[in-house]
């Protein structure tokens, strides 16, 4: 067992699960989507991206690309949230919907990332 591999896999899966947890629920309902979960998803996604830096293989490049997409989507969602208002109480249904749909895009990228991780792991017969 390799500690580096554990950490790598941990952050990638955690990024995907947190993202999923945030997106899960009624799209336009602010009650179903918590700010802290979004924050955690964002931070973990950034960490996952940094972890993928510097891998020169083809698989590594795709890994990095998916993470960059996820971070970009989440950053867009964060921007929408920040511009909508200082408090999370007064979010309109349309604002919440756009935040959640942007995060859903990030979720898709994270799912691709996790899929690559699984495929890569099963390819190695060790």
């Amino acid at each position: 067992m390799n500690l580096e591999k554990v950490i790598f896999g941990f952050f990638i899966v955690l990024a995907a699960t947190l993202n999923f947890g945030f997106v899960y629920g009624e799209v336009g309902n602010p009650q179903h989507h918590h700010l802290w979960e979004f924050f955690a998803a964002f931070v973990v996604n950034v960490i996952a991206t940094v972890l993928k830096f510097g891998d020169r293989t083809q698989v590594g490049a795709i890994h990095l690309a998916t993470s960059l997409v996820a971070v970009l989507q989440l950053a867009a969602a964060a921007l929408v949230w920040t511009l909508a208002g200082p408090s999370d109480a007064g979010l309109s249904v349309s604002t919440m919907s756009s935040i959640v749909s942007l995060s859903a895009g990030a979720l898709l990228a994270n799912v691709v990332s996790v899929t690559i991780l699984i495929v890569e792991t099963t390819m190695q017969r060790r």
């Binding site: 960490i47 830096f53 020169r56």
Partner: protein, 567 residues
């Protein structure tokens, strides 16, 4: 470039993750810990406000407590966060500094710059593999001739020294192994502008590898190889290397020529010399009994040259195995006994040809002390010992790096010169003597510039047009006319006229030129510059050939035609 970014990203992974973690922790704390406003109500920072505060605090910009004053609990947390973020930044900066000092990273930076510079080269250039003594000489001479070059050198400090040379050009140098095709390609082997490759490393096997990669990766360009051993030379020849230069064999050839035809030798070494060499008044090696110290690769060639001329030789070598039908004395030659045993007191000359400079000088000094009239040939191995050899002033000093550099330049600059010297060798001593006198009278005793003019659509478009389309007549002598005043002659002498398969040495001025001819000239650099307008400019050509100064523009040409028609 991309490899630089990848190395940097990989190295900065840990500090970046630490910074992200510190920011996230700080933001969480700032949002969760409440402040108290003037009315005693609790308030919270939003996530964005917390991020904003973290950004200016962690980077030590410090705008103060925004959007309003913090409470006690918030300040405690901010203190913790400041220390954490300072550690994070310090770690990042330390990693960056470490990266800048890192050898692999700097190597990647330098290699990236080298690649970009080679890619940007848009002029013809030569690729020099191995920038040691020989490479340096060739590089300097190419620079003097205004030709670009790219160098690959395995020794990093030597490659860096190239940047410190006072060259007119900015020559890219790669510190790398020329045996790797990857390095050769990075140095522009496959580029259209690459005119030729010179394999001049001090490792025969590396030169062989270079020749092989040129043959396979860019078969159309010539490759010049230095080969110290006959085996390597044979191997190189087996896959069609164009030019193989063995300095020892070359010196043997020169020596044989110098004995058989002293003037021929002087002519050859003067014409093929490095730019700026002056003709030395040299005495020819005398016939008689010779002593050769050191029977290695060099000694063998020298002995062969002497015996080819029917000269009797005694060899002095510490191990005399393999010297079958030769008179040999066992020893070093640095002491008097072996020299006397070899008959130094009655000898005509001595060759100090071991691979140790100090021993060679010691042999020469000892031998001269025993016989002051000895003709001395001393082998100099290292350029660094030049001062010593100059002070000793042997009759001939053999420097293998100079021989190889000379050979390379002669073959790169003007392949026709080799053919001319080959022909000159067969003409005898008196012919060479007469030619030498004629050349010195016309051009002075500095090594002249040698160039060839091809009467072709690309080499001399104006002349080619005159011969092919306008059915004009051009005499060889016209090429030497001055383009400003046609009755004056430029300081140049035609050495060789090549037509079809045959060549004519020292052609007369009255020979009419034909399209496809190639003329080899020796002359002052000024003469070459003065000649080029006539080759490419139709108006200059007309003036030089006929003496009529025609107007150049379309309107004045039309007016001139009208005027002529009226007359």
């Amino acid at each position: 470039m991309s490899s630089v970014i990848f190395i940097a990203l990989r190295r900065l992974r840990a500090p970046l993750i630490l910074l992200v973690a510190v920011f996230a922790l700080g933001i969480v704390g700032l949002v969760l810990i409440p402040g108290v406003d003037a009315e005693g109500r609790a308030w919270h920072l939003t996530v964005f406000q917390a991020l904003y505060f973290m950004t200016y605090t962690a980077t030590t910009i410090g705008f103060g407590e925004l959007p309003r004053e913090f409470g006690q609990a918030q300040r405690i947390w901010v203190t913790v966060v400041i220390f954490l973020s300072v550690v994070g930044w310090a770690y990042l900066v330390a990693s960056l500094l470490g990266l800048a000092r890192d050898k692999a990273f700097r190597g990647a930076l330098v290699a990236g710059r080298f690649r970009r510079r080679v890619r940007a080269l848009r002029e013809p250039f030569y690729l020099i593999c191995g920038f040691g003594e020989t490479g340096l000489l060739v590089g300097r001479a190419l620079d003097w001739l205004g030709t670009r070059f790219v160098a690959i050198e395995i020794d990093e400090t030597r490659a860096q020294e190239l940047e410190l040379l006072d060259l007119a050009q900015d020559a890219p140098a790669l510190a790398g192994d020329a045996r790797l095709p990857e390095n050769m390609l990075a140095a522009g082997l496959a580029k259209r502008e690459c005119r030729g490759v010179l394999a001049l490393t001090n490792d025969d096997h590396a030169n062989l590898a270079v020749a092989m990669s040129v043959r396979l990766l860019n078969p159309n360009i010539p490759v010049l190889c230095r080969a110290m051993s006959p085996q390597t030379a044979a191997n190189m020849a087996s896959f069609g290397s164009d030019h193989i230069i063995n300095p020892f064999a070359k010196f043997g050839e020169y020596l044989a020529l110098a004995i058989a035809s002293p003037a021929g030798y002087r002519l050859a070494s003067w014409l093929a010399g490095l730019p700026g060499t002056t003709l030395k008044a040299q005495t020819a090696p005398p016939r008689g009994h010779w002593i050769v110290c050191g029977y290695g690769r060099f000694g063998r060639e020298v002995v062969q040259a002497f015996r080819g001329q029917g000269i009797d030789v005694t060899v002095i070598d510490p191990n005399d195995a393999g010297v079958a039908d030769l008179r040999a004395v066992r020893g070093r030659g640095t002491e008097a006994e072996p020299l006397l045993a070899a008959g130094v007191d009655l000898a005509a000359g001595i060759v100090a040809g071991t691979d140790d400079d100090v021993n060679n000088l010691s042999i020469a000094v000892t031998a001269r002390a025993l016989n002051a009239r000895l003709f001395t040939i001393v082998r100099q191995n290292l350029q660094a010992n030049r001062a010593l050899f100059e002070a000793y002033a042997a009759d001939i000093t053999m420097v293998s790096s100079e021989i190889v550099a000379n050979e390379c330049l002669a073959r790169l600059k003007t392949p026709a010169l080799g053919r001319f010297l080959e022909l000159a060798r067969g003409k005898g001593d008196a012919w060479a003597e007469a030619l030498l006198e004629r050349l010195i009278a016309a051009l002075g005793d500095q090594t002249p510039e040698i160039w060839s003019v091809a009467i072709s659509a690309t080499g001399a478009p104006a002349l080619h047009r005159a011969l092919m389309l306008e059915k004009g007549k051009v005499l060889l002598g016209d090429l030497a006319r001055d383009s400003g005043a046609r009755e004056r002659r430029n300081a140049c002498v035609p050495l060789l006229l090549t037509r079809g398969g045959g060549s004519l040495p020292l052609p007369a001025e009255e020979v009419p030129l034909r399209a496809g001819d190639e003329v080899l000239f020796a002359g002052a650099p000024r003469a070459r510059r003065a000649q080029s307008p006539m080759l490419s400019n139709v108006n200059v050509r007309d003036y030089v050939l006929s003496g009529i100064d025609l107007p150049g523009g379309l309107i004045s040409m039309w007016a001139a035609r009208k005027r002529r028609a009226r007359r």
